[in-house]
């Protein structure tokens, strides 16, 4: 019950095929996002935050317990349920990278939101150019 599962998730994740998607640890993806651009990817981690306004994005913790990655809801998904926070979830989707102009626009948009101006552990992931556009997900633990 009191295990910190975020540590164990990444430890047993080397790149492997899951259907057509490549299964990879979040640290691997964050270390070289260019390698995953446009690829179908499966990643797993604890959801630290679900955007309360629309549930269109959430943030997933890497195995190091610090880095996070942004997961956006793709067209196949309505939204992420806030109840996912604190659960370990496996996401499948396409890894995408924004252009410089799109990234700047995203960062300006985030900075303009009052509730985004506080110190947030997922701020780096929130402003990052790259993200997973999820087409499906499944909760592994509660």
């Amino acid at each position: 019950m009191f295990v910190l599962p975020v540590m164990m998730i990444a430890c047993n994740q080397s790149e492997k095929k899951s259907g057509d998607a490549v299964s990879a640890a979040i640290e691997e993806i964050l270390a070289s996002p260019g390698d995953f651009e446009g690829k179908a990817v499966v990643l797993t981690g604890m959801v630290t935050h679900v955007c309360k306004h629309g549930g269109q994005k959430c943030f997933v913790l890497a195995g190091d317990g610090e880095s996070q990655i942004r997961v956006n809801a793709g067209p196949e998904l309505d939204e992420f349920d806030v109840a996912l926070e604190g659960s370990t979830v496996e996401f499948t989707g396409i890894f995408k990278t924004l252009t410089v102009a799109e990234t700047t626009e995203l960062q300006e948009s985030n900075d303009s939101m009052v509730h985004h101006q506080n110190e947030r552990a997922h701020k780096e992931a929130e402003n990052a150019a790259y993200f997973l556009e999820a087409s499906s997900y499944r909760e592994i633990t509660e």
Binding site: M1, F2, V3, L4, P5, V6, M46, T48, K52, L61, G65, E66, D78, V82, A83, E85, G86, S87, T88, V114, H115, E119, R120, A121, T141, E142
Partner: protein, 188 residues
């Protein structure tokens, strides 16, 4: 049967059939207004409770025993999910239906419990067209019917309160008010 009788018939029948839908859309309309204005979260009720534990904790000193003590103190042992450290000075414990944040240095914590808000959760679910599929068409039918209700309502009454007299002035005021807001906030 002249057109006024047909008009009254249409207004009455649609009014009865779509009474429930109007309440649903009216209630969720209020919710949406205040959700967008960030006054409240209509779908959920959030309750916060402050508590304190011994100060001077660090990331290294937090283990399963510490987590268990905190959960016991706030009565949430059965609701534990996972924990992590958003920063060197903060601990976040996720619960079923909420979370705990704790300042490690000061020992001051906040228990946040979230539950669904009855009625508003349901009406918002429908208003935002979460069911999709058939609900899309039924709510379209309601939207068209609402227009028919509004138009037919203009021609119910005759005499000094009719659309050509006092009723017309009130209708004009009702059209002008949103136009004024558009002019102030959007167009100029």
């Amino acid at each position: 049967m002249n057109w006024r009788k047909w008009n009254r018939w249409l207004h009455r029948e649609l009014g009865y059939v779509f009474f429930g839908m109007t309440i649903i859309y009216g209630l969720s309309g209020i919710a949406l207004n205040h959700y967008v204005a960030r006054h409240w979260t209509p779908d959920t009720v959030i309750r916060s409770e402050q508590f304190e534990v011994n100060p001077g904790l660090t990331k290294k000193s937090v283990d399963k025993e510490v987590i268990r003590d905190i959960l016991e103190q706030v009565g949430e042992t059965d609701n534990y999910k996972q924990y992590y450290f958003p920063s060197d000075r903060e601990l976040m414990i996720y619960l079923k239906g909420g979370h705990i944040t704790l300042n490690l240095k000061t020992g001051k914590g906040l228990l946040v419990k979230v539950r669904n808000r009855p009625v508003f959760r349901e009406v918002n679910y429908l208003h935002y067209n979460k069911p999709k599929q058939l609900w899309t068409w039924f709510s379209d039918l309601y939207a068209v019917s609402l227009i028919l209700l509004a138009v037919s309502g203009l021609f119910i009454v005759r005499g000094k309160n009719s659309i050509t007299r006092r009723g017309g002035i009130l209708t004009l005021i009702g059209i002008l008010i949103p136009l004024i807001f558009l002019a102030i906030y959007l167009w100029f």
